[in-house]
Amino acid sequence: MDFSFDVILRNMPYLLAGARWTLVLSLTGISLSVVLGVFICAARISAKGLLRRAAAVYISAFRGIPLLVQLLLFYYLLPEIGLDLPALAAAILAIGMCSAAYVAEILRGALQSIPAGQTEAAEALGIPPVALWRRILVPQALRLGLPSLVNELILLVKVSSLASVVGIGELTRVAQNITGQTYRPLEIYLAAAAVYFVINFTLSQLGRMAERRLRLD
């Protein structure tokens, strides 16, 4: 069979429309996961044993079960207990909650590399805990964890392809639909791969720029 660029060109607008949903999924997913991840990380390192154990269970559960399975659980199991979520919400929730476990571990690693003396000094100076976290610990942890967080965002863009399984019209789903109409899987999936690559390459370059800007020297 001859490789046809024509098919790719003709269907590019649809693929790009799908890519928009891929971006929506991954950006809302990463926002949710960073917010949730901060709380889980706080619980993971808190002084209360119960909180610490709960966070550890959360992390090992969400890291131990394949995301595809989590996605199906959110999509099919939640309606059974009376929580009927639209597909998009279920996908964002599943992706965000799974990624939150990874983000929590990234932040924990970053926080633990901040010298304990800083916390002690802040306490000695009478800085209240909220200000200690907001002004001292979180900004440094974010800076230290940024490379890993950008990595996580890129992973998120890629796992958002799984949301096609619950029927969301993102890039992979659109590619499947177009393939169903044109019988040109090779061209269409390669084009989809190229779109993913462009998104991820842009993200990794942006991440590198942000890292350079945040560097303190």
């Binding site: 595809l68 059974e80 890629k158 392809s161 090779l186 061209e187 390669l190």
Partner: protein
């Protein structure tokens, strides 16, 4: 909870688990081997080869596994490459894993102090012996943890193979759910299987790590 379902679908689930294990083990070993070759080529060749390898790594790491699987399984036949679902699953696993393995091996290579290599070359030790006797034993200590980590990640990616009808664990579970109109039982069984897999792999990783560190322990006790 209907316990008799486990008895009825137990064999199918076990068979699915076997297929998952097969794809995972063969895929991981193949991926690690290919990754090692890539890392070695990267280290010992000129810039055009390096450039190509770098592009390969970037492209494979920048695209979702599911898309790679689709290109191979659905697109392959149009390019003259007809593979069964399991074959395409294993091949795409090898390809998908190789750049990550290559990066892990590369980080290991780079962690060996240059002075050791210069000293080894100066006293006439061959390149292969340097790799085998000097670099690998020291690297293994450092890279066992990330290797285990990535192998665990791969074990979970096997679930994606169900999308191209590889009869692995998730596929059998979905069949069970669809045939019996149950949901809790099949997915409970599924979670248990994956959990078992991850726990066993983590333990194996710890064993390998202890084995790789044996020369450090011995020298520590000697002093």
């Amino acid at each position: 909870m209907k316990y008799d379902l486990f008895l009825r679908y137990g064999p199918a689930l076990l068979r699915g688990f076997g297929v998952s294990l097969l794809c995972w083990i063969v895929g991981s070993l193949g991926g690690a081997l290919l990754g090692f070759v890539i890392a070695c080529l990267y280290r010992w060749s000129a810039w055009p080869v390096r450039w190509i390898l770098q592009a390969y790594i970037e492209v494979i790491r920048g695209t979702p596994f599911m898309i790679q699987l689709f290109v191979l399984y659905y697109g392959g036949p149009y390019a003259g490459l007809v593979l069964s679902p399991i074959q395409s699953g294993i091949v795409s696993f090898v390809v998908y894993g190789s750049p990550y393995f290559a990066e892990i091996f590369r980080s290991g290579f780079e962690a060996i102090p240059k002075g050791q290599l210069e000293a080894a070359r100066a006293i006439g030790i061959g390149e292969f012996a340097i790799l085998r006797r000097i670099m690998l034993p020291q690297m293994m200590v450092l890279i066992t943890a990330p290797l285990t980590n990535f192998v665990i990640i791969l074990s979970k990616e096997t679930a994606i193979l169900s999308v191209v009808t590889v009869p692995e664990l998730l596929y059998e579970t979905q069949t069970m759910a669809a045939e019996t109109f149950t949901f809790v039982e099949p997915f409970l069984a599924l979670s248990l299987f994956y959990w078992l897999l991850v726990v066993v792999t983590a333990e194996l990783g710890r064993r390998v790590e202890t084995y790789a560190m044996r020369h450090l322990r011995r020298s520590a006790s000697a002093t």
